[in-house]
């Protein structure tokens, strides 16, 4: 529908000036709508999606659901996820005990290990470089076991870039410790 712009007479125009003053005058006495940050905080952070966090297993809150497939690191547009994986020899199921020592000779032992022994990959750290993250959520979407979730962590500030390289595994464990103790 093609319309014509409404025209205004001078008298209407002068009246409009007073109407404008009335509007701002009314707003002057209306209550403020700002949130005074350090004293009050906004109340809608529950839906905010900050950087990702690891989800713990239901039965064991100290380990994550992550199966170390590395899909998230591959899906990330800015390559900010890095999985630090440690390989460890595991005794065959009857023993059900992991070898305490790993470290430098693990590669050698992995190769020369007898066929009975299995190599288990263990997540040592889940590094997120938040400096590069663009919060697109591709990692969360691609994760096949839903081991990643968005955190509501919005009050982030720091002096160096290193402060924004998070180890998500450690974060998760600290959170679990805090919640279980408190």
């Amino acid at each position: 529908m093609i319309k014509k712009t409404p025209k205004q007479s001078t008298l209407q125009g002068i009246k409009s000036l007073f109407v404008g003053l009335k509007v701002t005058g009314r707003n002057f006495v209306m209550p403020q709508i700002t949130t005074h940050y350090p004293r009050k905080e906004v109340d809608n952070l529950a839906t905010y999606r900050g950087h990702v966090d690891l989800v713990p297993k239901e039965d064991d809150p100290m380990t994550s659901k992550c199966i170390l497939c590395g899909q998230c690191a591959k899906a990330c547009p800015s390559n900010c996820i890095e999985l630090v994986i440690r390989k460890e020899e595991v005794e065959p199921p009857p023993d059900e005990e992991a070898q305490p020592d790993s470290g430098s000779k693990e590669e050698a032992t992995a190769k020369s290990a007898p066929k009975k022994k299995k190599v288990k990959r263990i997540l040592d750290a889940f590094m997120l470089n938040y400096n590069l993250c663009s919060l697109c959520g591709q990692c969360v979407q691609t994760c096949p076991v839903d081991s990643l979730e968005f955190s509501t962590n919005s009050y982030l500030a720091g002096f160096t870039r290193e402060e924004f390289i998070f180890d998500l595994l450690e974060r998760m464990r600290n959170k679990q410790k805090a919640s279980s103790s408190g």
């Binding site: 003053l21 701002t24 005058g25 707003n27 002057f28 403020q32 700002t34």
Partner: protein, 321 residues
Amino acid sequence: MNIPPELIHISIALAAIAAFIGLNGLVLVYLERKVAGFIQRRPGPYEVGPWGLLQPVADAVKLVGKQLVRPKVADPWLYWAAPLLSFTPIFLLFLVIPFGPTLTGMEFNYGLLLILAFTGLNVLALCLAGWSSANKYSLLGAARSVAQSIAYEIPLLLAVLAIAFQFGTLNLTEMVHQQGPWPWQWNIMFQPLAFVIYFLCAIAETNRAPFDLPEAESELTAGFHTEYSGMAFGLFFLAEYAYIIVVSCVAVVLFLGGWQGPGAPGFWWFLLKVYALILVIIWIRWTYPRVRFDQLLNINWKWLLPLALVNLLLTLIFVKI
């Protein structure tokens, strides 16, 4: 040593005026920001001191502490003279304003004339600032300010002239005496048109929104004071606020009965009226968009000037009768 008492009187008055200007600058900065905040439904200055009361002080300290920068190609003499030239005449302006029945810096028969004459000096300061900065935006701002100030001075003078004819004097104290304490005895009831003309011209003369074209930030970044920093900018800023007070004071004297008011007359009535006027000016600033330059001049030459002339003529006829 034989110091004439007049000199002592004026010296004390000047010192008092200096304090008054400084204090008023602080109050106005605070008031402006608070009013703006409330209109926009936010608190305004809030962090420094209780209710942000110390914010203007913090601003002033910041301005004083800043380095004074002069562009390499700017004319050094004119560049530094401009802010001083803008600020110093203000002392003279306040000297003749009757704040109370006896509270006048200097009784002067041509007080109104003196105010009008020295207000004109500000144009020169802005012109110098714009020219000597060697900045194209400053130059445009200065050109605008000269055209605007000169144009708006004419209807302003004509409106004031009508009042002078009506009262038959240029002495501001005398003018207040001719008005009564109650609002219907104030001159605004006899000269409403002159008041409207004077008020519009005053806003334009002091470069306030919606007539703040010399410093229209969306067009000229900061207009004539683009290059100024620190207290050089601070002086322009202070001068602008001082001029707002001056034009409000004159308006109160000419139209709103000066220090007279119901009950006890005194300088409190005067200050109350002045601040009421300033509040209206601030309110207007935070409501309207800016007019365009040619429209600004059109309003002046096509509306205000003929109206002021008609007003003057009518006043003359009434005075004769």
